[in-house]
């Protein structure tokens, strides 16, 4: 048996049940994190009835809605940060074209930020974690 194993074999064996998205990795765009806008709210963050029936997204959108002042201080690493109208990771969760409805990176960053905030981490610590994992 060959001792060289492929990515597929590695991941399949380590976490056999994972189906890991790959495509977004090449699109990552590191950069400076934005400053949270004073008075920012989650008014534009999509509510559960606007998630196209994707029940698995409700928790992350609801979690983001609870901490807009944190999420607005994070730069998304998926490549959307250079899009028109984009300001922060919060932008990924806003409006009918919210990127987080389809992008695993936007979703993963949101989930990580929510968890770390609940663990009491500061915005700088959350930014560092986002950069470490997704940057």
């Amino acid at each position: 048996m060959s001792h060289t194993f492929s990515r597929r074999q590695f991941v399949a064996s380590a976490v056999a049940f994972l189906f890991l998205p790959r495509g977004a990795r090449a699109m990552r765009s590191p950069g400076l994190h934005p400053s949270p806008r004073p008075g920012i709210t989650a008014a534009k963050v999509l509510t559960s009835d606007r998630l196209d029936g994707k029940a698995d997204l409700i928790d992350v959108f609801d979690g983001v809605r609870e901490i807009p002042q944190v999420i607005d201080g994070i730069r998304c690493q998926c490549g959307c940060a250079t899009s028109d109208g984009f300001y922060s990771l919060l932008s990924c969760y806003e409006g009918d074209k919210a990127m987080a409805k389809i992008c695993h990176i936007c979703q993963g960053e949101g989930k990580l930020a929510i968890r770390l905030h609940r663990e009491g981490k500061s915005l700088d610590e959350i930014r560092a974690a986002i950069d470490a994992k997704f940057g």
């Binding site: 048996m1 001792h3 060289t4 194993f5 590695f10 976490v15 890991l20 470490a132």
Partner: protein, 293 residues
């Protein structure tokens, strides 16, 4: 002189003309990402057009000429981070590319920070340039001048220019984004035998052993001790107590770091790591582990 001015005028016109047009040397852009470093070359691609001899020929490139490996405006080489090219430091930026072509011995590669230079006006040698010798190799005939990176590694690759039967290879190294090595003191808190459980939708599927050791100044992991199939993989530190698996190729070089797909987050007690969670790109826990030895 008239011919030269006419040629320059024609090129100026075509360079600003966005309408469809057949050109003898069509524009091309070549871009390669390596570990976050973006390497781009923009150049016009001359064709041999029946010329069997391209170098040392009055019809193409003369010996001793300072030639841009391209056509029309000088080929440009752009990097967004510092690199080394054949061991020579190249700062982030854009450079025009030139080669001093010689009939015998080595050629000279020249990167000049001044760009947008017409090929008939090569820059004089100056202190701002990066200059080094390169070897030419015989190669199968290639009609269209081509820049490429036919060999890639995790931390670099081979940058190649080929035209006609001549090829020039340059070794390009990027700055790695990770340090694979760490001190024994930094590694020691993680070394040991662990038991971990795979978790699917919050439920434990099965438990296995996971071994972490320290070898060649690198922290390494192995999922199943009883399986020869699983070789060591590097545990690449991405944050305090956070590690991503770095997978080795058959030459012992890490060719990919699995993040954000799989990140091991360790918890310490009295300075020693005693448990870990492995989380996927959705921040879901996919493994939980605890030290058993």
């Amino acid at each position: 002189m008239k011919v030269r001015l006419l040629a320059m005028a024609l090129t100026l016109v075509t360079a600003t003309d966005v309408h469809a047009q057949i050109r003898a040397s069509e524009m091309a852009t070549f871009t390669q990402m390596i570990d976050g470093t973006k390497i781009s070359m923009t150049y016009s691609r001359p064709r041999a057009r029946g010329r069997d001899t391209l170098f040392g020929s009055r019809k193409a490139v003369r010996w001793g000429e300072v030639w841009t490996p391209g056509a029309n405006y000088a080929t440009t080489f752009e990097v967004n981070r510092p690199i080394t090219l054949d061991g020579h430091a190249v700062k982030a930026g854009t450079y025009s590319v030139w080669m001093v072509v010689r009939q015998t011995g080595t050629w000279t590669m020249v990167l000049d920070p001044k760009v947008r230079i017409y090929h008939m006006e090569p820059p004089d040698s100056n202190a701002t340039q990066i200059r080094f010798d390169v070897k030419t190799h015989d190669a199968p005939f290639l009609d269209v001048l081509t820049w490429s990176m036919p060999e890639l590694r995790a931390n670099g690759g081979m940058l190649t220019m080929q035209w006609g039967r001549t090829r020039v290879d340059m070794n390009l190294d990027v700055q790695p984004s990770y340090a694979l090595t760490m001190s024994q003191a930094d590694a020691e808190p993680y070394v040991g035998v662990w038991e971990y459980a795979e978790i699917d939708s919050g439920k434990v599927k099965a438990t296995y052993q996971f071994v972490i050791d320290y070898e060649n100044s690198t922290l390494k992991g192995r999922w199943h001790t009883d399986s020869s199939y699983f070789k060591h993989f590097a545990l690449v530190k991405i944050a305090p107590d956070w590690f991503a698996p770095g997978v080795y190729d058959d030459k012992g070089q890490v060719y990919e770091v699995y993040k954000p797909e799989l990140v091991l987050e360790f918890t310490r007690e009295n300075g020693r790591a005693t448990s870990f969670q492995a989380r996927d790109d959705q921040d879901s826990i996919v493994m939980r582990g605890k030290r058993i030895k």
